[in-house]
Amino acid sequence: MTSPPSLSRRQFMSLTATLAGTAALAACASPVRGAGDVRTLEFWHLLSGADGVTMSGLIDQVNGAQGAYRVRPTVLAWGEPYYTKLAMAAAGGRAPDVSVMHASRVPGYAPGGLLDTWDVGRLADLGVDESAFPAAVWEKGFIGDRLYSVALDAHPFVLMYNTEICDAAGVLDADGRLQSVTSPEEFLELARAVAGESEGHGLSYGYLGDGAQLWRLFYTLYTQHGLEIALPEGGEVEMDVDAAVDSLSFMQQLLDGEIAARENDYQSAIAEFATGRSGLFLTGVWELRSMLEAGIPLDATVIPTLYGTPSVYADSHAFTLPHQSAPDPETRDQVYRFVADILKGSFDWAEAGHIPAYLPVTESPAYADLLPQAHYAEAAELVRYDPPAWFTGSGSRFQAEFGSAVQNSLLRGDDPAAAIERFRARMNAQLRMPNPANPDGGAA
């Protein structure tokens, strides 16, 4: 066993293996290096399903239209898995070149140095500036005077309706669109009329076990009082309790078993409306494509203003620069170009239901003909995002906490005032915790 020939044979073999391995690795490496001047841009996003297909189309379009960069997308699961991974990548300083985030999540990321800022001047050179966006959407990209995110869209909570059922209920106006209502009572009346003509309920709204859905409707109603909620770090929640209780009580009235079912979760609400068993549907615009495919006679509108101030809950998919320790200037240049290209080509994004943020797209004649999208496009001017704080935003614990605080007031008819008080207490507890991305930022 220990004789020299066998040893040398082994040595020979291991040497050969090493050499072969090195050669193989070198062969792997060469095509990447040899890619010439085309920059590969690593792009992370969380758009799956129909949105993912549309985004792939947009990427193919911009990839095909030029030869300077090539975008390589990585799709990760929506919600906290995505935000955890993105945060870890940025914390390591070797993040992807560009990513999509919900604009509402940016305040949790930016102060801790997880995001690099956009150069407003460089964007403007490419035609991406303040004038090309709805004011609220553009401003949401800023924290202080620095731009951290550039919105691709606004995706508000809207009211979809089945035109056939609503027509039968006599709630359409002369143009065949939903009659305007301006108070909670009028809306309840309208919804009852629709319920009379529906096989199931008048209105579908899925909220069970879904804090996000509860929050979307609640915050729409609350902000229609002309108010917002503020969450100052290290302080106490600033909110108008009466308006909050008012909004929640109205939601209770909707879920009376006639207008809308109490036992609806997200999927069953979709199923109810998509099979034509209800006339109205409170949902996000991102469900538009599946509703169109369901083949029901469909239109959509901005959620009516019931408390005086036009306002709708929304979020935006926004481009961000996850922090890189040593960004390659040429690659960064191409990232700016890529974002400008996608924004300019974002007409197709509207087909997924979202309202493109880039005004030249939504102001085009082609968009005016795009129905029912054009019927709720004005929502982009009325958007209200989550109150900024490190723990808020889409897919965050904030919305889940809201859900567990208030769900029982809808499901079991518990006192709305007690539910709002629970929510306040939880938020105050959250506010006492230091921002983990910026523990020294403190209670400034």
Partner: protein, 316 residues
């Protein structure tokens, strides 16, 4: 079982070599070398993925390290003080204990009943054995999906059955007062097969002569069950309860998947809270502290169990 196997094989090897006479020492050394060679891959993985994370986690629990890379300063026992005064942590521990009680009882009793029925000779024994054990082979993701559909408040089978009997539909997974029960039902369906199999194996080990003798003495089947079968299942019951308690304390994946990520107050288990604190809340140090609190509790339970078994062994 696992502790006896290696020692037996070592003995055989050593005696085998002893016959070699003068080459014994050289052979021992070489074998020891070979043994280390075989052990190294495991030891490396063990040190890298178990020992090191364990120590590093302990270190993290004394820092304010954030997942975002911020923090990392030494905070002493601050995290532990925070954890022990955190109502959500106590609530999650309570939920975990409650789940353990709710799930362990049916998982042991049902498994026993199923094993007794199958062992007593239901026709088509293999089919029962297969169908009772099959769910255990499914991944947690699969059973979660199945039960999410069954528990769907509008179109799910569970409410379909309830309404067929004239009962009111129930929001199984969404109603905080019953969603823990729903998780227990799904978990029992999923894992009862394993305990069932252990019981069945134990039943098959009971000598048949004892039943024959008892029958000759005029004992009926209930008498035989009480006086022969159940006493002889004592050992395996202890084993099953220990394994079950430990498995139930680890509650996470099915609940996480069935409830869609972030848990409600009534279902958040301690493992879920560790995950939420670290990966959703980005507070790694705090999350590590909670996991060490949990670790201490498991150690205490383990010691109590070992003590109980020791006494039981001494008695018999």
């Amino acid at each position: 079982m696992t502790t006896t196997a290696p020692s037996t094989s070592t003995t055989t090897v050593v005696t085998g070599r002893a016959a070699g006479g003068p080459r014994r020492h050289a052979g021992d050394r070489r074998e020891r070398g070979v043994a280390w060679g075989f052990l190294t891959p495991f030891l490396v993985a063990f040190a890298l993925f178990l020992v090191w994370p364990l120590l590093h986690g302990l270190y993290l629990s004394f820092t304010d390290q954030s997942l975002t890379g911020a923090g990392g300063g030494f905070v002493g026992i601050g995290n532990y003080v925070g954890a022990l005064t955190d109502p959500v942590m106590w609530q999650s521990l309570g939920n975990t204990a409650w789940f353990t009680v709710l799930s362990t009882v049916p998982l042991v009793l049902l498994a026993l009943v199923m094993a007794l029925l199958v062992h007593r000779g239901l026709p088509g024994q293999w089919l029962w054995r297969l169908s009772f054990f099959m769910p255990y082979l499914l991944a947690s993701t699969v059973i979660s999906q199945i039960w999410v559909w069954i528990f769907n408040p509008q179109i799910g089978a569970a409410n379909g059955i309830l309404t067929a009997f004239g009962a009111e539909p129930v929001a199984w997974l969404q109603d905080p007062s019953i969603n823990m029960g729903a998780i227990v039902i799904a978990t029992v369906w999923w894992t009862v097969g394993f305990n069932f199999l252990l019981y069945l194996a134990a039943l098959q080990n009971i000598p048949h002569q004892q039943y024959e003798a008892a029958a000759l003495d005029g004992a009926g089947s209930w008498r035989q069950l009480w006086s022969i079968t159940l006493p002889q299942l004592g050992q395996v019951t202890v084993l099953i309860v220990i394994l079950q308690v430990l498995a139930s304390l680890k509650l996470f994946d099915q609940a996480y998947q069935m409830l869609g990520g972030i848990a409600s107050d009534t279902t958040r288990s301690i493992v879920q809270y560790i995950y939420e604190a670290g990966f959703v809340g980005y507070r790694f140090g705090y999350s590590a502290a909670i996991s060490y609190v949990f670790f201490a509790i498991i150690v205490i339970i383990g010691v109590i169990q070992a003590f109980a078994i020791g006494r039981r062994g001494a008695r018999s």
